[in-house]
């Protein structure tokens, strides 16, 4: 019997001509993209108003995979680029999907200043604890003592606690989930998309091929098992106490506050100036 060709219900959100994707078996990036797309679908997002921006790294290919206007920037500069986009056209929804090295090592300065300004761009960070694309070097989120290709004797650097950093820098919305928490992550992305101001979600994502295999978690399943055992949901707990350890990954929403966004403050100022100019002319 001839079967009718069926298109995937979410194919409209993806550039099918870009498939297959580059991600390894067991990688969590596909889950991040999946949750993002589900959130867009549930929100009935206007794809013509959406701009997806990425930096460099495995997850950085997301911009190319989503069927929206998209831009793949230089390493670390997605937030600075997105700042220009959002200010130039505040009607656009500007979402960044990028990695921990891109956003917090080379791009760390842009992250804290965008959060401080509270500019309305939305950042989803896949944190896989290392530089996957270049073959597994240590990064700003690599746990102490972890083995990577550039910490062969164990990592001696203290890692960032990203949710604490984002909260301290002034973000309006801060959450952390793992790729095991697909339902909560999807709901959290919806919240991120709807909120005013700078919003940030960290997604702990498995990288078994590059990070896991050097750290006694050879498969995606083993990494997910770690997330299952270690993660505890503690909504609105103190992000300063949310350091990631082998035994404990605090997940949940940490910050959800109302604060005027930078673009709104700036454009209100422009409107006032325009009014004065009109008064002067009349």
């Amino acid at each position: 019997m001839v079967q009718e060709a069926v298109t995937h219900p979410f194919s409209k959100y993806l550039r099918e001509e870009m498939m297959p994707h580059i991600w390894c078996a067991g990688c969590g990036n596909g889950i991040v993209l999946n949750c993002f797309v589900h959130a867009l679908d549930e929100l009935k997002a206007d794809l013509d108003k959406l701009v997806v921006v990425s930096g460099i790294g495995c997850i950085g290919r997301t911009a190319g995979y989503t069927n929206t206007a998209s831009f793949h920037t230089t390493h670390g500069r997605s937030i600075a680029f997105a700042t220009g986009v959002k200010l130039a056209n505040p009607e656009l929804d500007v979402v960044i999907v990028s990695g921990d090295g891109d956003l917090f090592a080379i791009g760390g300065n842009h992250f804290i200043h965008a959060a401080r300004r509270n500019i309305g761009i939305k950042v989803i960070c896949a944190n896989n604890f290392n530089y996957g694309m270049t073959g597994g070097q240590l990064g700003p989120t690599t746990p102490l003592e972890a083995l990577t290709t550039t910490s062969p004797y164990g990592n001696s650097e203290h890692p960032f606690n990203l949710v604490h950093l984002a909260a301290a820098a002034g973000a309006s919305y801060v959450a952390r989930w793992t790729t095991l928490h697909v339902r909560r992550l999807t709901q959290s992305i919806k919240r991120l998309m709807q909120k005013e101001g700078f919003c940030f979600i960290e997604v702990i994502s498995p990288c078994p091929e590059i990070f896991g295999r050097r750290n006694k978690m050879r498969s995606g399943l083993e990494m997910m098992e770690w997330f299952r055992k270690a993660s505890v949901v503690e909504n609105f707990s103190d992000p300063a106490k949310a350091d990631i350890t082998p035994d404990r990954i605090v997940v949940g929403e940490f910050v959800d506050i109302e604060k005027m966004s930078y673009e709104k403050l700036f454009h209100e100022k422009i409107a006032q100036i325009n009014e004065k100019a009109m008064e002067k002319m009349s």
């Binding site: 550039r15 001509e17 701009v51 190319g64 793949h72 920037t73 230089t74 422009i270």
Partner: protein, 383 residues
């Protein structure tokens, strides 16, 4: 503060940085991202006041890397965009200038040259970024760089820089120096209808047929903005006409990089501008640019008065280098004199095209540009 939502049409006494900022406004620039740096800061200060009067954006970024990235973002969102800096900041911008080349982003980068290397002489003039302007970002590319020699040109060449950037979808550099930026001169700003303003080509096909990097006959693809319904992708990776990465294809790499260069190489006659005075019969031709050209013209006139057949050739576009014009002048001259405020940068290009005509280089570093007398003496030595 009084609000002036119009061009400053008329004659004014301005410094070069302010004239540049007014040129940007006149050209239709509505987005400025920058970081304070001497001697370009006054451009940012003036635009922080003027941009909002026109509904435009001024943002002070956390550094020059961010400034350049934001400029590219704003241009893709549809606004004419610029940044302004000096040597150290120009160095930081280089990677994203390459991104602007690769993603064919119209934008203007003003570099007010001071003495380097490194922090160097923040308040003093230099012409030391000429080669960095051409070769500063990695990979093969061509670039357009304009060199104003007066406050009037800080205005008019800024307008021209925007027009070129919009015509060819390229970043255009304005290479001023500390003196043209900080000195005050008379500037005449024309009425808006007397200004030639160019806007980028827009696509005329539906979204599904739009290929963001498919060139037309002039090698330049029409450009859609974010939010106009064209769901296109752009990347700094080697990409095909759809904008999709094709990093393993030597064919796509060659086609893309050659076209990016050809946009400028094959349009060179439309882009290049020089000013020539008395070169037709000149035995000695002085090739100079920026503030140094002012002394050079004075020296050439002095030489003519002394009976020496001297000529003046000023590249207004440093890049692409005016090869034909310099070669032509060199072919009939006995010697070429090149005064520069560096250890020898544009003189290399002059030597390259001058062939057998001897080139005499006159280097000056530090506080002052060459005096007319110094250049006059060099002309006499050449003869």
């Amino acid at each position: 503060m009084s609000i002036k939502r119009s061009l400053l049409t008329g004659a004014h006494f301005l410094n070069g940085d302010v004239a540049c900022a007014e040129g940007a406004i006149a050209a239709g620039c509505r987005f400025f991202a920058g970081y304070p740096i001497t001697p370009a800061t006054e451009i940012a200060e003036h635009l922080s006041e003027r941009m909002p009067e026109f509904g435009g954006i001024y943002i002070q970024m956390e550094d020059e890397i961010a400034s350049m990235a934001a400029v590219i973002g704003a241009s893709y969102a549809g606004l004419k965009s610029m940044t302004a800096t000096s040597g150290p900041g120009f160095s930081l911008m280089q990677e994203n200038i390459g991104l602007a080349v690769m993603t064919e982003t119209p934008c203007v980068v003003v570099d007010i040259m001071r003495g380097g290397p490194s922090t160097g002489q923040p308040t003093l003039p230099g012409q030391q970024d000429v080669m960095q302007a051409k070769w500063g970002s990695h990979g093969d590319y061509e670039i357009i760089a304009l060199a104003p020699c007066s406050v009037q040109e800080m205005f008019s060449l800024t307008v021209e820089a925007f027009n070129l950037s919009e015509t060819y979808r390229v970043p255009v550099l304005l290479l001023g120096d500390e003196i043209v930026a900080h000195m005050y001169e008379k500037v005449v700003i024309p009425p808006p209808d007397k200004l030639r303003i160019v806007n980028r080509k827009k696509p005329h096909v539906p979204s599904k047929d739009y290929q963001p990097f498919m060139p037309e006959e002039d090698f330049v693809p029409p450009m859609a903005s974010f939010g106009e319904g064209y769901r296109f992708h752009a990347t700094g990776l080697t990409h095909d006409e759809h904008g999709y990465p094709k990093t393993q294809s030597s064919e796509v790499q060659a086609r893309l990089v050659r076209r990016l260069c050809d946009k400028i190489r094959r349009n060179v006659d439309k882009i290049v501008r020089v000013e020539e005075i008395m070169t037709e019969d000149a035995d000695v031709v002085v090739v100079s640019y920026g503030i140094v050209a002012r002394s050079a013209l004075s020296a050439v006139r002095k030489a003519r008065a002394a009976g020496i057949k001297a000529g003046f050739l000023r590249p207004i576009t440093l890049w692409p280098f005016p090869e034909k014009q310099v070669a032509k002048a060199a072919a009939r001259a006995k010697v070429i004199v090149v005064p520069e405020m560096n250890c020898g940068q544009l003189v290399r290009e002059v030597e390259r095209v001058a062939k057998s005509t001897p080139v005499s280089f006159l280097s000056k570093l530090g506080e002052d540009p060459h005096t007319p007398t110094e250049i006059f003496e060099a002309i006499k030595r050449g003869i």
